[in-house]
């Protein structure tokens, strides 16, 4: 039986009397790559700080690898977590000084430190920067050195807060590869991103946060509005749904469940909108279309579908989806 890397129960975090995180129950499995998805201010960083034990919840408990935790963490528990914040801070001095400090603070014996440090730098392709001063690193290099510092003591759980922010395409792809490699080496990798498609593509499993709460929807095509008699009104569109919960204010439509056509379809699907194609973008294993129907919809289709339909920007398209493809919360 596998234990969960984390189990959270009745977690509440307040900031200036406002509840910024409210999680009744959440289990994060071991040895998986998990994406925390959500908009800015959804509580992703707050949750990661709790998971890294650099902040404490006002209420609730967190089990780490099935064990109770206390503050400060035991040495063994502390060594099981590596954390890279959104804007990592490298201390003054050289890259290798920073890596060695992490090993020293973790109580690793001096004779093992040099080899571990070099292996970690090599793993993230920054071994050539070992003696360079941290003040001269570029943004991408700094992030990779911070990752090396977090993986050097061979933690089982790695936490990355918005690792892809402010990176150019080249560093972005390098980092994707590093995260993929880490998750293949029996590590639990938990990273936050506001790019939901990327999160879904890279992770085995995703946790979606909206206003500090965990929701079970992919959070793409997320619209605000109100629900009345199985119809969700966003102010611009009226979307048929199966739910009739009175106090729901959000609706999300699965981008894989939307059918694209150049002509209106005659079908049992309750929702059909027409709009203008504004963006065609390549994602991992699929094509993302952005269609403006009053509200902006994202639709995922295959490359074959794209070439068959012969789409070009500015085309008028019809979007159809069943009321069961919606999630209201």
């Amino acid at each position: 039986m596998t234990t969960d890397a984390y189990q959270l129960h009745n977690i509440k975090v307040h900031y200036k009397k406002r509840c910024v995180l409210d999680i009744a129950n959440l289990s994060l499995p071991q040895n998986k790559c998990i994406a925390l998805l959500g908009d800015n201010g959804a509580g992703k960083s707050t949750l990661l700080n709790l998971l890294a034990f650099t902040a404490q919840a006002d209420k609730g408990e967190i089990l780490l690898n099935g064990q109770q935790t206390s503050s400060p963490l035991s040495t063994k528990q502390r060594q099981s977590i590596g954390y890279v914040s959104q804007h990592p801070l490298l201390l003054k001095g050289s890259v290798i000084d920073n890596i060695m400090l992490a090993l020293k603070l973790q109580g690793i014996k001096p004779k093992f430190r040099k080899d571990l440090a070099q292996a970690a730098l090599k793993q993230v392709n920054v071994e050539h920067l070992a003696d360079q001063s941290t003040s001269t690193l570029s943004g991408g290099e700094l992030k990779r050195v911070a990752i090396a510092r977090a993986i050097v003591y061979q933690a089982d759980i790695l936490l990355f807060d918005e690792p892809f922010s402010h990176l150019d395409q080249h560093h972005y792809q390098q980092l994707e590869v590093i995260i993929q490699q880490l998750s293949q080496h029996n590590k639990t990798v938990i990273f936050s991103t506001h790019n939901r498609l990327q999160g879904l593509a890279l992770a085995d499993y995703s946790v979606n946060l909206v206003n500090g709460k965990v929701t079970f929807s992919p959070l793409l095509n997320l619209f605000n509005g109100h629900l009345h008699d199985h119809i969700f009104d966003t102010g611009k569109l009226q979307i048929h749904t199966i739910s009739n919960s009175g106090n729901a204010h959000n609706i999300a439509i699965d981008p894989n469940e939307i059918i694209i056509s150049k002509q209106p379809l005659e079908s049992s699907m309750r929702n059909c909108f027409n709009g203008r194609l504004t963006l065609i973008a390549e994602e991992i294993n699929s094509i993302r279309l952005t269609v403006d129907c009053g509200e902006i919809f994202h639709v995922l289709i295959s490359e074959e579908s794209l070439s068959q339909l012969g789409l070009s920007l500015g085309d008028t398209l019809y979007l159809s989806f069943k009321s069961t493809a919606t999630k209201v919360f």
Binding site: S85, L101, A102
Partner: protein, 227 residues
Amino acid sequence: MSYFSDSLAGALQLITSFDAAIYKIAFTSVSISLIAALIAGCLAIPTGIAIALNSFIGKRFIQHILNTLMAMPTVVIGLLLYGLFSRLGPLGHFELLYTPTAVIIAEALLIFPIMTNLTISAVTSADPRLVPTLMSLGAKPISLAIQVAKQMRFAILAAIITGFGRAIGEVGAAMMLGGNIEGFTRTMTTAIALETSKGEFETGLALGLLLLVIAFLVNFILSWLQR
């Protein structure tokens, strides 16, 4: 005018001829202030770091007390310690009155709140990511304090130097507790006060100039550290 210019010329003559008495006084002054600054630093820096890194009930109150103590008149410290150290006082049997030790204790007490406050500001002005970063790397309370001190070493060194600067220019407590005994507890400030009252303006001026040079050096080092 010639009185002043003649005295100034005489004072410079005393300094440039390396007058033994003058330099002995300067040496006593510097060594007493240095020891006081180091003792106060050993206590104030860990206290300041501990106050800055922890949140506890009464933290604000302690900071208010420290701010008040910073403005404490030096003669009041002199007066209180005189009461403690005098033959009839509770610590009279240590026979500390009119010794350099008494002056060192008074000056250390005087600069402790200043150094503690400067250390607190140094730590709280550190990058807000510093403490969470060190904690996530496995720093425990003691190693966390050591690493924070290492990162803020220049600001903390500036606190020690500011304390030294305050101690060397202090006159009230040094006079009351040291007694201005020649070759023993005579410091630059007490000597200036005494020599001037005796009419030895020249010697007073020579010591004053030396004190200014030391103050200039202290400030020069401070501004270099704060660059």
